[in-house]
């Protein structure tokens, strides 16, 4: 599903060159629920941006769904982002002048789905997030947790192959954070691959696979304790 080989990425600012990703090898299968951890500045966001085709890389290769993601035109990139990838951001990134339903429906707008149809679908997704009654509220009338659930609904609406979430709980209190994680786990059960960047241990523990980044390479990798318990069948919720 996702295949990285020898991936390098540097930032150039003025005369300085900052080598952030230094030859990453990583494979993620369809339907995995993965978290990426590491200290601040270790390159987690950088990696996620490359995966989301929001940013380019310098060396190595990145295959998404068996297609090489390099030298894409912006039009092609937009197409892949629209159809294969859903994004969830730490700061929600909802459009301020659109209500919750319109925000959720936006990816379908770019696919050319009619307004009536996309709003209907958006309502269904909001319903699943428990936000049906908030559909016509503007983002500034929603709490952090509600905003993030709207954002999650938006990331799902185009039925992407993978959802990429950069610190999705970073701006939420711990109870809400756990609710959001439960949502992700649920969505993942439908077969959508989910990759979550976090530096909170109890968040990563709710994913199935934990990847540690350090100095631009993968330092270590674990199957999460919860996954082990589930597999062994002794864990109780």
């Amino acid at each position: 599903m996702i295949e990285l080989k020898g991936l390098h990425k540097s930032y150039i600012t003025g005369n300085n060159k900052l080598h952030v990703l230094k030859g990453l090898d990583l494979t993620i299968e369809q339907g995995e629920l993965v978290s990426i951890m590491g200290s601040s500045g270790s390159g987690k966001s950088t990696l996620l941006n490359v995966l989301g085709i929001l940013d380019s890389y310098d060396k190595g290769h990145y295959k998404l769904n068996n297609t090489l993601m390099s030298n894409l035109t912006e039009k092609k990139a937009a197409h892949y982002r629209n159809n294969m990838i859903g994004f969830v951001f730490q700061s929600f990134n909802l459009i301020s002048f659109k209500n919750a339903m319109e925000n959720v429906a936006l990816p379908l707008y770019y696919q050319g789905v009619s307004r009536k149809k996309r709003n209907k679908i958006a309502l269904e997704y909001l319903d699943r997030m428990g936000l049906k009654n908030w559909a016509d509220h503007m983002p500034n009338e929603l709490s952090g947790g509600q905003k993030q659930r709207v954002a999650i609904a938006r990331s799902m609406i185009s039925k992407p192959k993978v959802i990429l979430a950069d610190e999705p709980t970073g701006a939420l209190d711990s109870t809400t954070s756990l609710e959001v994680m439960d949502l992700f786990r649920e969505i993942n059960k439908e077969g959508i691959t989910i990759i979550i960047v976090t530096h909170e241990k109890d968040i990563s523990e709710r994913t199935n696979r934990i990847i540690y980044l350090k100095d631009g390479i993968i330092e270590s990798e674990f199957i999460s304790p919860r996954k082990i318990s589930e597999t062994v069948g002794t864990y109780r919720n």
Binding site: L54, A78, H79, N82, Q111
Partner: protein, 421 residues
């Protein structure tokens, strides 16, 4: 076209910055408003001039004999001479470019003394002898009866066409002058027509309303002028070059009257076509100037829109980043921004056009209702094509105004746009 998502975006950014929007819109509004006002008054000016020309034959020429300035063939300089009937006849036959040639002779009541009487009524008027053709070159309006005709010329008829004012002086208010007799310098003439100033404001010599027109041949006989002719009005056929015709006629007249071939002063002339052309050129020049000034003002307004769009794009960087992360193509982004620019220019421009046309119409209405006969105001106007053209230019300008900001918007990498705070 009606794409709510797009218009929502446009209106949200306009609404969020009401003051800025208003100022921007005003720039374009003012530009087009001024353009329309100038075009409208320009049209009034043009109409005023054209109305002044009226039905005067524009491809025409006036010639008259003057004093010679050079001694030639035994004749001294400063000699006076006159054109003759034969000159006119030969010129008419010799030059096919000439459409009409109408000679004229004129006499006033000497020192303003009364020269026309009818019973106890009397007045001093200009008396002119001419050909029927004259009324085709410098047309008078015949309010009743007729003009001088060829039979009058051939048979030396004592008939007169009198000006409106002449009629008022010599006749009672409800009297019909046609068929009545008046005495001109002691000789009876039968009134066959009444004339007044034609559609043209151009006046050659005397006031038409205060003159009496008789056949040229009769004039020559009555005033003992032999076969002399004073001045001639000439029109050339449309395709002819009137300046060339003038040269040919002058050369011919000089040789006929023993005038030195290089004595340019001996034959007086006035090329109306040349004067008309000058005036038309001036009108065209003013028209072009109006467009240049108007478009420049408009351009300033449009540059304002472009600037504001740049600011809007900068403010919206993050939003644009989000949209691109969700799959908006660069085309879509550009489309939105350009549409917004077009919307801004076209809608404010439309207001300017409507108000401009409104003001012009108001000027016209006021001018008409106050009974003004100044065509500069009463004939001001904006024709629909010009208004549509202005609107079209606005849309094109709008595209340009949006293009640079739109390019700027998509030149930023999506990730950099998203990072923007």
């Amino acid at each position: 076209m009606f794409d709510k998502e797009k218009w929502q975006e446009i209106f949200s950014s306009l609404k969020n910055n009401k003051m800025r929007t208003t100022l921007t819109v005003f720039g374009v509004f003012w530009g087009i408003f001024m353009l329309i006002i100038m075009l409208g008054l320009g049209m009034g000016f043009k109409n005023m001039i054209q109305e002044g020309f009226g039905d005067f034959a524009t491809n025409s020429l006036l010639i008259w004999p003057q004093q010679t300035t050079k001694a030639y063939k035994g004749f001294p300089r400063n000699r006076r001479y006159m054109f003759t009937n034969e000159d006119v006849q030969i010129i008419k036959e010799k030059f096919p470019e000439i459409e009409f040639i109408a000679p004229k002779l004129r006499a006033f009541g000497s020192e303003g003394a009364n020269n026309a009487t009818r019973g106890t009524k009397t007045g001093a008027f200009s008396v002119e002898g001419t050909f029927p053709e004259y009324n085709l070159i410098d047309p008078s309006k015949i309010t009743s009866g007729r003009f001088v005709n060829n039979v009058d010329i051939k048979e030396y008829k004592k008939v007169a066409v009198i000006g409106k004012h002449v009629k008022d002086v010599l006749f009672d208010k409800d009297e019909n002058p046609i068929g009545e007799y008046i005495k001109i310098n002691g000789i009876y003439f039968k009134v066959v027509g009444v004339l007044t100033k034609g559609a043209s404001n151009i006046s050659l010599g005397s006031d038409k309303d205060r003159s009496i027109v008789i056949p040229l041949t009769t004039f020559q006989k009555v005033y003992n002028r032999g076969n002399e002719v004073g001045f001639c009005a000439v029109t050339a056929v449309k395709e002819a070059n009137i300046a060339l015709v003038q040269q040919k006629i002058n050369t011919f007249l000089r040789s006929r009257h023993s005038i030195a071939p290089d004595d340019e002063q001996a034959v007086g002339g006035f090329n109306l076509a040349k004067e008309f052309k000058k005036i038309f050129k001036m009108i065209t020049g003013i028209g072009i100037l109006i467009w240049i000034v108007g478009t420049a003002t408009l351009l300033a307004g449009v540059i304002g829109v472009s600037n504001i769009m740049l600011v809007v794009v900068k403010e919206r960087t993050k939003e644009i980043g989000i949209q691109r992360a969700l799959g908006a193509t660069p085309f879509k982004i550009m489309n939105n921004i350009i549409t917004e620019a077009i919307f801004l220019t076209a809608s404010s421009g439309y207001m300017g056009i409507v108000l401009g046309v409104g003001v012009i119409e108001l000027i016209k209405m006021i001018a008409n209702s106050t009974g003004s006969d100044n065509p500069f105001f009463t004939h001001a106007g904006v024709n629909l094509n010009v208004a549509l053209m202005a609107l079209f230019i606005l849309v094109i300008f709008g595209v340009f105004a949006g293009f640079i900001p739109a390019k700027r918007a998509i030149s930023i990498k999506p990730i950099d746009a998203l990072r923007d705070e």
